[in-house]
């Protein structure tokens, strides 16, 4: 009997583990006894329900989503372009290597602070997101292009298959697992980076701005509630990604286990 489609995943034990986690949280919050230090799960949930119905909630969340997606979109475009070129031409990779290494090694707060000096507050999170997610996408594309089966490339040469057809029917499908993994990792990173940048740049609307405001007011339950919003954002995009790539993964896995 095969377990399809989520092999090795037992939802019952995952749910049980989540419940245990909430129970531990509740227990510790009772022991601490101060909402300002550690709010209880129900206080956090209550706060979440309250802020979810305020008129500014939708505006803040969509501002953050818009920044995240535009940052991710720019990084994805640049990553595809530069990663594709570097994967095909080692010279391009050598030229880009120092820049990519520097970008990848720079602490996210350093980028935020530099961006704060250079740009308008609302653009800072977008800029930082581009810089933080670009290396992930770029490196996955380079690796993906290197992983394209040389024998299939040779087949294309032997049959004089044109560049366009080769790109769409050999390179892109070979890259698919690398694109999927790059996209998923980069999107997960996106929300963390956007919110961190918003906390420091405090644009008028944004999940990070709300977090900062709640912290300044010492409203810890609200800090927790907005944190939950950020976690939900991440979980939702991850789920969307899984659903989008499911069909393709099923085709690729077909017969592989037989």
């Amino acid at each position: 009997m095969k377990h399809e489609p989520h092999r090795g995943r037992d939802y019952l034990s995952i749910a049980a583990a989540a419940l245990v986690l909430v129970a531990v949280w509740k227990l510790v919050s009772v022991l601490v006894g101060l909402e300002m230090i550690l709010p209880s799960p129900e206080a956090t949930l209550g706060r979440f329900m309250e802020i979810a119905v305020t008129p500014s909630f939708g505006a803040s969340v969509s501002a953050t989503v818009a920044r995240g997606l535009s940052g991710f979109g720019i990084a994805a475009g640049a990553g595809l372009l530069f990663g594709g070129a570097a994967g095909l031409r080692p010279t391009v990779q050598n030229v880009l290597q120092p820049a990519v290494t520097i970008i990848r090694s720079t602490p996210v707060v350093a980028f935020i602070l530099i961006a704060l000096i250079w740009f308008d507050t609302a653009f800072v999170p977008v800029f930082v997101t581009v810089l933080m997610t670009f290396p992930v996408i770029y490196e996955n594309i380079v690796e993906g292009i290197r992983a394209v089966d040389r024998r299939l490339v040779e087949l294309c040469r032997a049959y004089r298959v044109g560049n366009r057809r080769m790109w769409f029917r050999l390179y892109l499908p070979s890259l698919f697992p690398f694109l999927a993994s790059a996209g998923r990792t980069a999107l997960g990173l996106t929300w963390k980076v956007v919110v961190a940048a918003e906390v420091l740049s405090i644009p008028e609307l944004g999940v990070g701005s709300e977090l900062q405001e709640a912290r300044v007011m010492l409203e810890t339950p609200r800090v927790f509630a907005w944190t939950a919003v950020a976690i939900l954002l991440s979980a939702l995009t991850d789920l969307a990604f899984t659903l989008l790539t499911q069909k393709r993964r099923r085709i690729m896995a077909r017969g592989a286990g037989a």
């Binding site: 299939l152 040779e154 087949l155 040469r157 032997a158 049959y159 298959v161 077909r254 017969g255």
Partner: protein, 239 residues
Amino acid sequence: MSFTVKGLSKQFEELPVIQKMNLEVPDNGVTTLLGPSGCGKTTLLRTMAGLIEPDVGTIEGLDREEVTFLFQEPRLLPWETVFSNVEFVLPPAWSREERHAAVSAILADVQMSDFSAYYPAELSGGMAQRVALGRAFVYPGRVLLLDEPFQGLDFSLQLALIGVFKRLLRTHPRTSVFVTHSVREALLVGDTLVRLSERPARVVEVFVNDLSPQERRVDSEAFARRERELYRAIGGWTG
């Protein structure tokens, strides 16, 4: 389309693989290049296909636009169906209807019509090589180069695929160059047999396969006799 290999040499690093090779490939028959493993016959074939540039020498009279190549492995795109894999190599100028008709016809010829919607991972090795054979013949070239295409398969499958290959040749005539290290295979498919030396490859002898098409089968007396003679002439290396 006949063509001529003239003074061809090729070495990799310091290792000479082909040395001053001269060879005539006659029009419309099967020329088998028979030589021991690692003697440079695959390199020669790749040079004919333009996948490798020779160090010196030329190949005259061969239009690369006419060449198709059958590799040792099927080399199918794992994410495309059998049908799409065959269609993949057709010239871009062909219309949708032309492509569809050509692919359907060739899949029927290699007895893979029932599997046209299957993915490569769902096929056995023999089935996948049938698809590759169909792909080699669907392309409208006049020259077909084959690099030990049936070696990975067990004996009965080899014979079956050789049968398919010969049948395809009757309906789709090609000037074929068939590389093999097996005397038996060379006698089964070859009209002209070219014996190559150990590396670096030189032509040792060229002879015409005098067995009639009816005799070119493993259960014929004449075939068995001819095969024995050839084994004696060559010595130890064949499989």
